[in-house]
């Protein structure tokens, strides 16, 4: 899921001021931002209170099913067209993808209410860790299912680097070196580490990423290229 954290409210207020907004419609997301406890119903209610306390009128709020889903978000905003029309601006408590979908669905100024920080694993409720950066050229097959691109602060494919000390990471000194973990797990599984993991194909991570299943003639043969 996409991990979000609250955005500094002073920035949001400055955004609202920049368009002279007096009234606001709030939108959240029923998926990631709800799990991250940043853009679900309780957070939207709290945001509404905060805005009111600052003298803004809140014309309404909605938690869409999946904020980044364009069709769903268009449907959701159409249902609330009256409240949205009554607002000078929309603040979206979702990841940046959701903000952009909302911005595409309404004609009002739309501002982000959260910071999108990473694609995270849910370790347990409320504890998230970044373990994949969606690089498009996955090496997990060579690294015993531990991602060095993400979990080694330097993103080294062949490690450990010279700063590793007693199995611990040079940069994040309270953590085990990713490469120590990789090599241990490989050994536990009786697997031999690849001699030299080849340089990454950064072209696989073209910006902006796009994938159109409808264009694919044989979906199962998707090559990722």
């Amino acid at each position: 899921m996409i991990i979000t954290k609250p955005r500094d409210w002073s920035r949001i207020f400055a955004n609202l001021q920049s368009v002279g907004a007096k009234s606001v419609f709030l939108m959240g997301c029923g998926q990631c931002a709800t799990v991250a406890k940043t853009g679900g119903e309780p957070e939207l209610e709290a945001a509404a209170e905060l805005l009111k306390a600052e003298g803004y009128e809140v014309t309404g709020w909605a938690v869409g099913e999946v904020a980044c889903h364009l069709g769903g978000t268009k449907l959701e905003t159409r249902k609330r067209v009256g409240d949205i029309d009554a607002a000078d601006a929309v603040v979206v408590l979702s990841c940046g993808a959701g903000v952009q979908t909302v911005a595409e669905s309404v004609s009002k100024p739309v501002f982000p209410g959260l910071e999108s920080v990473f694609l995270g694993n849910v370790i347990r409720a409320g504890v998230f860790e970044e373990r994949c950066q969606t690089c498009g050229d996955c090496v997990l097959d060579l690294t015993a299912g531990i991602c060095p691109v993400t979990t080694c602060p330097k993103g080294l494919l062949n490690g450990p680097c010279g700063g590793m000390w007693d199995g611990m990471c040079e940069v994040l000194t309270d953590r085990e070196c990713a490469h120590v973990r990789i090599r241990r797990r490989l050994a536990e599984q009786g697997r031999v580490a690849v001699k030299v993991v080849a340089p990454k194909d950064h072209s696989a991570k073209l910006k902006p990423g796009a994938l159109n299943l409808r264009d694919r003639k044989t979906p199962s043969a998707g090559s990722g290229s």
């Binding site: 602060p153 330097k154 993103g155 080294l156 494919l157 062949n158 490690g159 450990p160 680097c161 010279g162 700063g163 590793m164 000390w165 007693d166 199995g167 040079e170 940069v171 490469h179 120590v180 090599r183 241990r184 580490a193 001699k195 030299v196 993991v197 080849a198 340089p199 990454k200 950064h202």
Partner: protein
């Protein structure tokens, strides 16, 4: 011709030293250091933004060392450049007459003087060694022929005493596989442990130049233990220096003892005098290597 390569091939016990390019354009202090060290060293490392802090480029500084009549080891870190820039700089180094390269990953920018910098790490040191070996064979990293190749002596860093040992050794052997012809190691703290692990690398065909760090004061030892990644001075050495009436002399004495012990188990020593160039001279002379 690389004097370092000749000496290593002959089986001489080599001595290497180290200088840092200036934080600016005035190379006089660096060159003064080179003048002092060069008569006692086969080659001198020229560091590359060491500690992720800004310095004049190792490329230009290495050339200046060469112009001053000494032999540099051009250092290249993976931290600051992508694969195009790294290869481009290697080609430049060869055209500038630099024949020895030490390839390292580099410290994380967050520990340096530009903590907001983007660490590049497009290639890691192992991968860059492989690229450089390919360039020695006349091709770029995609296998395309170069218009004129190079013939570097390729070096890498190794940390033989670091734990877990098997992982460190596997990693160093991986670098040999990728093209490392010699290693310069992290400062040796326990010669026996070092010897055991260096033997594996030497058997694999790499020359091993052992790091000797001048533990010149209790303050320096404290700094090393607290701030330098991948190094820890053992208690008995810290005590020996700390309790000495003359820590610097004691540190030189200790280094001379280490060099003597390393004579049979390494192919040379890389002496890091932490700015005390005269101490390097005393260590080399005291060891009978002068």
């Amino acid at each position: 011709m690389s004097k370092l390569r000749d000496a290593l091939e002959r089986g001489d016990f080599v001595v290497t030293g180290e200088v840092a390019p200036p934080h600016g354009t005035d190379m006089s202090a660096m060159l003064a250091s080179v003048d002092r060290l060069a008569p006692y060293c086969h080659a001198i490392n020229v560091t590359d933004n060491q500690g992720a802090t800004l310095h004049l480029s190792s490329l230009a500084a290495s050339r200046a060392v060469l112009d001053a009549g000494s032999e540099p080891i051009f250092q290249q870190t993976c931290r600051d450049r992508n694969r195009l820039a790294l290869q481009s700089d290697l080609l430049a180094a060869w055209t500038l007459g630099l024949e020895n390269v030490l390839i390292v990953t580099g410290d994380d920018p967050r520990g340096g003087d530009h903590p907001r910098a983007k660490g590049v790490f497009d290639l890691d040191s192992t991968q860059l060694l492989e690229v450089a070996r390919g360039m020695n064979g006349g091709v770029n990293m995609n296998g395309a022929a170069l218009d004129g190749g190079c013939n570097f002596l390729l070096g890498a860093a190794a940390f033989p005493e670091a734990e877990p040992a098997d992982i460190q050794l596997e990693r160093a052997l991986q670098k040999v596989e990728a093209g490392a012809q010699f290693f310069q190691t992290q400062a040796v703290m326990d010669v026996d442990v070092f010897a055991e692990r260096a033997a594996v690398l030497r058997e694999a065909g790499a020359k091993v130049i052992a790091g000797v760090l001048l533990l010149k004061s209790a303050r320096v030892i404290k700094f090393i233990n607290e701030r330098l990644a991948g190094l820890m001075v053992p208690e008995h050495l810290a005590k020996r220096i700390g309790e000495s009436m003359s820590p610097l002399d004691e540190a030189v004495e200790l280094a001379i003892e280490q060099v003597a012990a390393l004579r049979d188990v390494a192919d040379g020593v890389h002496i890091m005098p932490l700015g005390a160039d005269d101490a390097l001279v005393r260590i080399v002379e005291g060891s009978g290597l002068g």
